[in-house]
């Protein structure tokens, strides 16, 4: 349980995230996102949440970002798209930065300074997690599956060829 390594990994992830968000090119952003997620995974291992770390690396960094890469590959995000993006970005970031900055100050001082109460750090064992997820939290597990089903239903419908009636309703 080494807090130093965890903090170090988190700062790397934060830096990667900042860069990902500000790069004009989609591909660079995607790679930086991947880097951030991987470093988070390392942080989880550092905090002895091994199962979470594994899940993070395998599913989040692996599968989820893989889908992103697949989508980015299908569309040709060529350089003129990048130029257009840089153009769009240049004069559009001032206001958002200011407004989001509003809540940075209270977060840093409020959270940073806040008393957290001493906790007894203990490694998060996968067995306890299993017991919890299918014991007390069985309702939550059911609900998250329902959530995924909802997402799946939506995606499946969007993907389907338009039925005859629907096509005549919206010709495009």
């Amino acid at each position: 349980m080494s807090w130093g390594l965890a903090i170090w990994a988190a700062t790397v992830a934060f830096g990667a995230a900042i860069l990902a968000v500000t790069r004009p090119s989609a591909v660079h952003a995607l790679l930086l996102l991947l880097a951030a997620l991987i470093s988070l995974g390392v942080g989880f291992f550092a905090m002895a949440a091994n199962f979470a770390g594994a899940i993070q690396l395998l599913i989040y960094a692996g599968a989820v970002v893989a889908v992103f890469v697949f989508v980015v590959m299908t569309i040709d995000a060529g350089d003129e798209a990048m130029a257009a993006e840089r153009e769009l970005l240049r004069h559009a970031w001032r206001w958002p930065a200011l407004i989001v900055g509003l809540s940075v100050v209270p977060v840093i001082f409020g959270i940073g300074g806040g008393a957290m109460g001493e906790g007894d750090p203990a490694p998060a064992l996968a067995s306890d997690l299993g017991l919890l997820m299918f014991g007390d939290w069985s309702a939550a597990t059911e609900l998250i599956t329902l959530l995924l089903i909802a997402g799946m239903l939506g995606v499946r419908h969007l993907g389907r060829k338009l039925g005859p009636r629907l096509r005549e309703r919206n010709p495009e």
């Binding site: 958002p96 407004i99 989001v100 509003l102 809540s103 100050v105 001082f109 409020g110």
Partner: protein, 650 residues
């Protein structure tokens, strides 16, 4: 038991009225005439035995209660009574009414069936009204009869539907008599409050017992009521114009019964009048003044009916003089005699004018004496009674009684006697004018026409009564409890001399061309001293101006209210009403403009515009661009987090 017969007296004419007015069986001409006559004469048939029994002492005073009403703790018993005044009044009314009904049956034979039915229905209703007034034992039935007469006179005067003049005359008559009725009602109600009962025999003592000022006010109100109904001085202008009605109406209503009802009223409440000396004097003065005024105006008339109308006014003036002098009995005697000869004069004049080509102008009557001899003869007898031809005519006896009563009433009475004497002389002058005119040769075409026996029969009867009536004066006065005034031989001789000078004057006026011309030129006198014009200028026109001002007919008020029917011409002005609307609009505009979901859309649009501008601002906020939504989110987050953090400092 006999008392309930009393209740039956006014019922037949009432029944006649209902049958004729509602006409459930669609009667034809003949049945209508038959029914009217039956209903008209039935009260005479019913009442005469009662009257005779009463006068001969076979049956005493009696009261027939109809039904009782209770208002809260007051018991109000409506009833009819038989006492000297009601007996005399009722018998006169029934006799005269029967004569007029018979006369009318012939006179009106030319009218359409529908008009005939309407005419006789109203005549019967009138008779029911008059009888119930005379026989009433309580103030409510009295006032009911009183007002019913007013209503019938309105409809009868304007009987000739199509002529606007008749309607105007009817309306004027109804309004003026109604003013008097309002005063009478006030008096009766005040009396009721004094006596907490409606019965006459309790009202009068309560009126006497009332304290000074209230008794005076009540007496004055009763006097005004009488003056109005009997067309005495301040209210006399409606009677001459009322001649627009058919002759039988004039004969019954405007000579014998309705117009004289004022005298009956004063006779009924005589104790109250006498109790307050001021009012008694006022009654006498009003009477004498009207008598003089009536006589003067009558002289200048060119129309025989207007002449007779003014003569009715002056004769009733005499009755009021009698009551003023404290001799109601004498007044009632003159009422009876006057009823006979005045209705005779009207009916005879009617026949004569028919004979003289239909117009009632005196000039047109020339030569009718020879065409309708009987009616001319009866007219002459009537004129003699009117003028008070000594000894022979009944008029002389009743007038002498009045003059005698005036003389006996002390120095003030003697002065009034002198004036009354002058009046009597003038009466003589105008009374014989139509008679003498009828005797003259016709100017050009000889008048033709005939006299049917149906019309003439009542004339003859009345002529007889106008002569023999003198014998009735003494008993009537005694019946009424007064004493026959014997003012000594000198006064009677003076009276006779006045009558004779009247006759001579009349001959002079008719036959001396210069005097005749002066009468023709006396236009102001003919128009009743222009009293009519004066009333119109000072009363009617200002009232009309107020009405037009308030009802906005002059458009001044109507225009500025803006849209809606207020602006259109005609009866929309109503300042007080529109004031509230204008105030409401102003209030709406100032206070509740944006929220008034109402037709005042000008207000709404102004209110809505401010809300709309605010609405547009918010909708611009909703730009549709997702990034702005995210910015909004970030802003909200920032504010809340700062607040949250700030809170924990404290």
């Amino acid at each position: 038991m006999l008392a309930y017969l009393l209740l039956l007296v006014p019922l037949p004419p009432l029944g006649g009225f209902l049958l004729l007015a509602l006409d459930p069986y669609r009667l034809d001409r003949r049945p209508v005439l038959a029914l009217s006559l039956a209903a008209g004469i039935a009260p005479l048939v019913l009442f005469l035995p009662l009257a005779i029994a009463y006068f001969t002492g076979a049956v005493g005073d009696m009261i027939a209660p109809a039904f009782t009403l209770n208002f809260g703790q007051y018991e109000v018993a409506l009833a009819m009574q038989l006492d000297p005044l009601s007996a005399i009044g009722a018998s006169t009314v029934t006799v005269v009414a029967s004569c007029v009904m018979i006369y009318a049956a012939d006179y009106m034979s030319g009218a359409r069936v529908a008009d005939l039915r309407r005419f006789f229905a109203l005549m019967n209703l009138f008779q029911a009204g008059m009888l119930s007034m005379v026989l009433a034992a309580d103030s409510i039935v009295f006032f009911l009869g009183w007002e019913l007469m007013g209503l019938c006179s309105f409809f009868l005067i304007s009987y000739n539907m199509t002529s606007p003049r008749a309607f105007a005359a009817g309306q004027k008559a109804f309004v003026m008599t109604r003013i008097a009725d309002a005063a009478l009602l006030a008096g009766l109600l005040l009396l009721f409050l004094e006596a907490t009962s409606v019965r006459m025999d309790e009202l009068i003592p309560a009126g006497l017992a009332a304290e000074e000022s209230r008794a005076a006010i009540i007496a004055v109100l009763l006097l005004v009521g009488a003056l109005g109904k009997s067309a005495q001085l301040p209210f006399q202008t409606w009677l001459p114009t009322a001649m627009a009605g058919p002759t039988p109406v004039s004969a019954l209503l405007h000579s014998a019964t309705m117009v004289a009802a004022g005298a009956v009223l004063l006779a009924r409440f005589a104790p109250l009048i006498e109790a307050t000396p001021g009012v008694a004097a006022a009654t006498a003065i009003a009477g004498v003044a009207t008598a003089l005024f009536g006589a003067l105006c009558a002289i200048a008339q060119t129309d025989v009916k207007r002449l007779l109308a003014y003569s009715s006014i002056s004769q009733i003036g005499y009755m009021l003089l009698a009551v003023g002098m404290g001799a109601p009995g004498v007044a009632m005697a003159h009422f009876v005699i006057h009823a006979f000869f005045k209705s005779l004069l009207f009916m005879a004049a009617g026949v004569l004018s028919h004979a003289g080509g239909g117009s009632t102008a005196i000039e047109k009557l020339r030569g009718t004496a020879y065409v309708a001899p009987i009616s001319f003869a009866t007219y002459t007898v009537g004129a003699a009674a009117l003028a008070g031809f000594p000894i022979l005519s009944a008029g002389w006896w009743s007038k002498e009684a009045i003059l005698g009563a005036a003389v006996e009433a002390g120095p003030f009475g003697q002065f009034l006697w002198l004036v009354a004497l002058g009046g009597a002389a003038l009466t003589g002058v105008y009374a014989y004018r139509p008679v003498l005119c009828a005797l003259r040769k016709p100017l050009h075409d000889a008048p033709k026409g005939h006299e049917s026996w149906l019309a003439v029969a009542p004339l003859i009867f009345l002529a007889i009564m106008s002569v023999l009536g003198g014998y009735l004066v003494e008993p009537i006065i005694h019946e009424m409890g007064g004493h026959a005034p014997h003012a000594g031989l000198g006064i009677e001789v003076m009276g006779a001399l006045a009558a004779i000078t009247g006759l001579i004057g009349s001959v002079a006026v008719t036959f001396i061309p210069s005097w005749n011309a002066r009468i023709k030129r006396a236009r102001r006198l003919r128009a009743g001293m222009q009293m009519d014009a004066i009333y119109y200028a000072f009363l009617v026109r200002p009232y009309r101006r107020i009405v037009r001002l308030l009802s906005g007919r002059d458009g001044r008020l109507g225009k500025h209210i803006g849209e809606g029917p207020e602006a259109q011409e005609g009866g929309m002005g109503d300042p007080v009403g529109t004031a509230t609307v204008v105030f409401g609009l102003w209030l709406a505009r100032v206070v509740t403009a944006p929220f008034m979901p109402d037709r005042f859309d000008t207000v709404i649009m102004r209110g809505a515009r401010e809300a709309q501008r605010a609405g547009l601002w918010t909708r611009r906020l909703q730009s549709g661009r997702l990034r702005d939504y995210a910015l909004g989110f970030a802003l909200g987050l920032g504010v809340l987090v700062i607040l949250g953090w700030g809170m924990t400092w404290g």
